[in-house]
């Protein structure tokens, strides 16, 4: 237990809350990586998932691809892209986008699939175009599952963005990687506790949002 209280002491030290190495700056970096990655992954996965869910085409392929992407080890991708493209924002972004795509894609197509076919047919029967069916019927009804996919993606990226520090970038992983390098266990524990807190807070925000949405309907 002393190791954990050491981490708490490290957290409570004022000097660790200022400057480039301080927690606020690292948290902003961490959230920045997460936002960038999830934005790119959403731009790829959501239109694709909505198209698959709407048309029902390529569904088998989507399941196979998401399964295969889930098996890809993020650390392997990260280090490989570093060797190909050099150190920079590209390697962690690529590795984390690959991580975020499966839950987003699955949320989108599973969400549309769960919409009652009779409702969709009714929408067509009253003269809605395909775009209107998608935008006014399917997406609103599928929203809880799409949001669920987004929630899973954000949490996985928050958890895994720690590895950006492994190739010398910032984010909260720095405390773990730096601490490991100099055997500073309290620093590692402190960084870990902040990441855990960040993940739990974001998950809580998603839970509140989803609840508010479900009460609205």
């Amino acid at each position: 237990m002393s190791a954990v209280s050491g981490g708490l002491d490290w957290l409570a030290t004022g000097a660790h809350w200022h400057g480039e190495d301080g927690f606020p700056h690292r948290i902003v970096e961490h959230l920045g990586y997460t936002a960038l990655t999830v934005a790119i992954a959403s731009a790829i996965a959501l239109p694709l998932g909505l198209w698959i869910g709407h048309t029902g085409r390529l569904r088998g392929l989507a399941i196979a691809v998401t399964g295969a992407l889930r098996a890809l080890p993020t650390l392997g991708l990260l280090t490989l892209v570093v060797i190909w493209r050099g150190i920079g924002l590209t390697p962690p972004t690529v590795a984390l986008v690959v991580l975020a795509i499966p839950p987003l894609l699955a949320g989108a197509y599973a969400g549309l699939e769960a919409v009652d076919r009779a409702t969709v047919d009714a929408a067509r029967a009253i003269g809605m175009t395909e775009w209107q069916v998608l935008g006014r019927v399917e997406i609103p009804l599928a929203l809880p599952l799409i949001l669920g996919g987004l929630r899973a993606a954000v949490l996985q990226v928050i958890a895994t963005a720690t590895i950006a520090a492994y190739i010398g970038l910032g984010g909260l992983g720095r405390f773990i990687i730096d601490g490991l390098a100099v055997r500073d266990y309290p620093q590692m524990v402190a960084g870990s506790l902040v990441i855990v807190a960040l993940a739990l807070i974001l998950d809580g925000l998603f839970a509140v949002t989803q609840r508010a949405l479900s009460l609205q309907r």
Binding site: M1, A3, V4, G6, G7, G67, A68, R70, A71, L72, P73, T74, L75, G76, L77, L78, T79, L80, V82, I83, W84, L155, I158, A159, T160, T162, I163, Y166, I167, G173, I176, I177, L180, Y185, M188, V189, G191, S192, L193, I195, V196, A199, L200, D203
Partner: protein, 214 residues
């Protein structure tokens, strides 16, 4: 390919470690989660609490947990037991939900029928509900299996050797072949384990084959 063959002995040793670091948590996770999932189904109020605790546990990031666990348990920081502990915790967290869903999918009428034919509570659980929940449990095991094999690869960052070592080592030597070999090995291992669970499922649930053939 050449590098792969030259280093076959080392890679095989790392792969075996990877197998153990994955299989033990998956099996332990199953054994621990199924009774919890069953309890969650039987006592509804406590059950929903259990399932939400499990989902909160699942949101805790893995690398930080690998750091915190030795401090809590007093184990040595570089000990593989930490990795097994952390991965078991995740496996349980995921499996509890699918076990609860699995037992919920068993029709009440069937359970009542078993009760009426004189099955005791134990017999109902083991001979009626467990087999009928089987397919959902199997799906849960497969999800856990893929993510566990992939998660193991981050543990070289805390000093535990396995196939992920090929990534850290390849990175330090700036040698992409080693990393590519590592990725391929991890994916193949994930597929093989998945196949193993499907085969075990077929052996344990022969009636599913009949249904598939119809």
């Amino acid at each position: 390919m050449r590098w792969f063959l030259d280093n076959w002995t080392d890679i095989r040793a790392l792969a075996w470690r990877h197998v153990w670091l994955s299989v033990i948590p998956i099996v332990l996770g199953f054994v621990i989660a199924v009774p919890i999932g069953y309890a969650a189904r039987r006592w509804r109020l406590g059950g929903s609490t259990l399932v939400s605790i499990a989902s909160v546990v699942y949101t805790i990031p893995s690398l930080p947990l690998l750091v915190i666990i030795p401090g809590l348990l007093g184990t040595r920081f570089l000990d593989p037991i930490n990795v097994v502990m952390v991965l078991t915790i995740y496996a349980v967290a995921v499996m509890v939900r699918s076990a609860a869903d699995g037992f919920a999918s068993v029709s009440e009428a069937v359970v009542d029928a078993a009760r009426a034919s004189g099955y005791s509570a134990w017999q109902r659980a083991l001979q009626v509900e467990l087999p009928l929940a089987g397919p959902v449990l199997l799906a849960g095991v497969r999800v856990v299996s893929v993510s566990t094999v992939s998660l193991v690869t981050i543990s070289p960052l805390v000093g535990v050797a396995n196939l992920g070592t090929l990534f850290t080592d390849g990175y330090q030597r700036y040698f992409s072949t080693e990393i590519v070999v590592g990725i391929v090995c991890v994916v193949v291992l994930a597929l093989l384990l998945d196949l193993l669970w499907v085969m075990l499922g077929r052996v344990a649930m022969p009636w599913l084959r009949v249904r598939g053939a119809r």
